[in-house]
């Protein structure tokens, strides 16, 4: 039986503007198993990215709980959350979000460098993962010298260099052409199948969602019970 690596309990995220409260997420309780490739889908404004931000520890829910790999990640210090993001989680953004002053290799190894590793170790790790995403010949290029698809592959390499337990991806193909989009999804599929990487990806492309093991549908901040798939 597969172990649940992510569990949420009655997750709620409310944005308050003066007296007006907007419920971005309400009563979200889900489980994602280790080694699973899960897509979170829904219309624009449905709350899918907000859910991903909570799971990826980029934001804090207003209510509810999140357990990652058996750890309560809500009631821990900011320092611990930072450590968790570095060691246990990887994040791929829609707009790549690479550091423009760093080469592809440096963008990848910066997170490995932040761990207590020696230079040759983190350089080797970064070079290997860049090779795995097909960028061995672009390692010393700056983001401005790379295409969108290449930048997103660098971003994936950065997210994976520390061998995280979970990889989060927030609409990773939204800014890419169809060929590059397919490359990215295939890479996710490859890492999921070959090394059992747990992946949680937000997308609004149904064919991308179909390549995941499972889709979690979100509507108006709630789980879309009509499209429930083994939550």
């Amino acid at each position: 039986m597969k172990k649940a690596i992510i569990m949420t309990e009655h997750l709620e995220r409310v944005y308050a503007t003066g007296a007006v409260k907007t419920y971005a997420l309400r009563d979200i309780s889900i489980e994602i198993n280790e080694g699973e490739f899960v897509a979170i889908m829904g219309k624009s404004g449905s709350g899918k990215s907000t859910l991903l931000h909570q799971l990826g520890l980029l934001d804090k829910p207003t209510k509810g709980n999140i357990i990652i790999d058996g750890n309560d990640v809500i009631n821990i210090s900011e320092k611990e959350r930072t450590r968790f993001r570095l060691y246990e989680l990887g994040y791929v953004f829609q707009s790549y979000n690479l550091i423009p002053e760093l080469t592809a290799l440096e963008n990848v190894y910066i997170t490995a460098m932040a761990r207590n590793l020696k230079r040759d170790e983190y350089e080797k790790m970064a070079a290997e993962i860049l090779a795995a995403v097909g960028l061995e010949d672009r390692m010393y290029h700056y983001p401005s010298e790379l295409s969108g698809g290449q930048q997103q592959r660098v971003s994936i390499a950065r997210a994976l260099v520390n061998k995280p337990k979970i990889l989060f991806a927030d609409e990773p193909t939204a800014n890419l052409d169809s060929a590059s989009s397919e490359d990215v999804i295939n890479l996710f599929r490859k890492f999921n199948e070959e090394i059992g990487q747990t992946i949680v990806m937000v997308t609004h492309e149904k064919d991308e969602g179909d390549k995941a093991d499972r889709i979690i549908w979100v509507k108006d901040g709630l789980l879309d019970m009509e499209k429930l798939e083994n939550i």
């Binding site: 979000n97 550091i99 760093l102």
Partner: protein, 400 residues
């Protein structure tokens, strides 16, 4: 903080600095110019004040000036006193003078003037008259019928449009001096001197021995004795040594003899402090704004770094390091340019009515300005980066 944290901090700072060369150069240029704007003007004012003082020291007071007690008109036994003071180790020069006034006449022009009686050779050690001769020659001990005249009394050296009464004379012309006791004598102009100090360049100078000829036997008197020391700041030590000789006359330091000049220099210093402080605050604000904008523009980058698990302290430290690099580089460049300017102006001093002014940059001003600008850059880097680092990650990345 762990060693690898420092490694990441330096790495991020280094990459940001070296990749954003234009930003780096612009900020460093602003820092350097701020440094120059504060120090250059201040150094000119300091140089002006120094020149005023130096003009007085080298023309009128020496570093120390021995004068008669209030009830006395003259210092007596002056020759022996000069000899004794000269024996004090370190004393650069000692010269006695006598003061009088006379009406000088050339053709139809008559001007009442101070007359200074000097011992030409001794005087060389305490004043700049000998090196300030612009036409003709300096006095020698044997010159009994010659005088030196200050350029301020000579028409050909007057500024254009100047209407003050002056002599239309040149070297070799003869001027008649009429003293208060009725003594009248004609002297040939041997040289015209110009120190550049208006307090000094309006005198007629003749040989010390002439005083006895004019006023009768004097019993070895002097109006004052000037003493030159190796440098400023040693006045107290040498005053004590001179007191130990049993001198009964007043021993005055140059500072106490400055009078109005002291007030003027004091006013200059106050002006300098005020403008310097305003300059520092302006530079502080300018640098703060520039670095603030730079760091604020990196808000997204700070959010990304936090999102991928880089500690807040590392991010903050890297921006403070960058700001420190801006500050130190700007100050170093400012220092280098300032040194070059000072070097240039020491070779080509600024011509001012009081003389040739060389800007002076004091160590205190150099240190204060450098430290303030570096502090400004660090503070300017710290606060906005701390604000960005404290911000919610999503707000920093996506703007909020």
């Amino acid at each position: 903080m762990e060693s690898n944290d420092l490694k990441v901090m330096f790495f991020l700072a280094y990459k940001n600095l070296t990749k954003s060369k234009i930003t780096f150069m612009v900020i460093v240029a602003v820092m350097a110019m701020s440094f120059l704007s504060i120090t250059f003007f201040a150094s000119i004012i300091d140089g002006l004040g120094y020149e005023f003082e130096e003009g007085m020291i080298r023309g009128q007071t020496g570093h120390l000036m021995i004068e008669p007690q209030e009830d006395d008109l003259y210092i007596s036994d002056s020759e022996n006193l000069v000899r004794d003071i000269r024996r004090i180790p370190g004393v650069v020069g000692v010269a006695r003078r006598l003061d009088a006034s006379a009406v000088a006449r050339y053709e139809t022009i008559e001007i009442g003037n101070p007359v200074l009686f000097i011992e030409p050779e001794n005087e060389k050690d305490v004043s700049d008259y000998w090196s300030s001769i612009i036409v003709g020659e300096y006095l020698s001990k044997r010159d009994t019928d010659e005088l030196l005249i200050g350029a301020n009394l000579v028409k050909s050296y007057a500024a254009e449009g100047d209407t003050q009464k002056r002599f239309d004379v040149d070297v070799g012309d003869k001027i008649t001096l009429s003293f208060s006791n009725g003594f009248v004598k004609e002297y040939r102009i041997k040289g015209i001197y110009k120190t550049g100090s208006r307090f000094v360049d309006d005198k007629i100078i003749i040989n010390f021995d002439q005083y006895e000829l004019i006023f009768g036997p004097t019993d070895d008197i002097a109006s004052n004795i000037l003493i030159a020391l190796p440098q400023r700041g040693m006045e107290e030590t040498y005053t004590e040594k001179i007191i130990d000789l049993g001198v009964s006359a007043q021993i005055n330091k140059w500072q106490t003899k400055m009078g109005a000049v002291n007030q003027f220099v004091g006013s200059l210093q106050i002006t300098n402090q005020i403008t310097g402080t305003i300059g520092l605050l302006t530079a502080f604000a300018t640098i703060y704004i520039i670095i603030f904008i730079n760091v604020t523009n990196k808000r997204k980058q700070i959010g990304i770094l936090k999102a991928v698990g880089i500690k807040k302290q590392i991010i903050l430290g890297s921006y403070v390091l960058q700001s420190l690099a801006y500050g130190i580089t700007g100050v170093i460049i400012g220092n280098i340019v300032m040194k070059l300017l000072l070097l240039f102006l020491s070779i080509h001093p600024l011509s001012m009515p009081i003389g040739q002014v060389v800007p002076i940059l004091t160590t205190e001003r150099l240190m204060t300005t450098s430290a303030t600008l570096i502090l400004a850059s660090v503070v300017a880097g710290f606060f906005p980066s701390r604000k960005a680092a404290d911000e919610n990650i999503l707000d920093a990345i996506f703007g909020g």
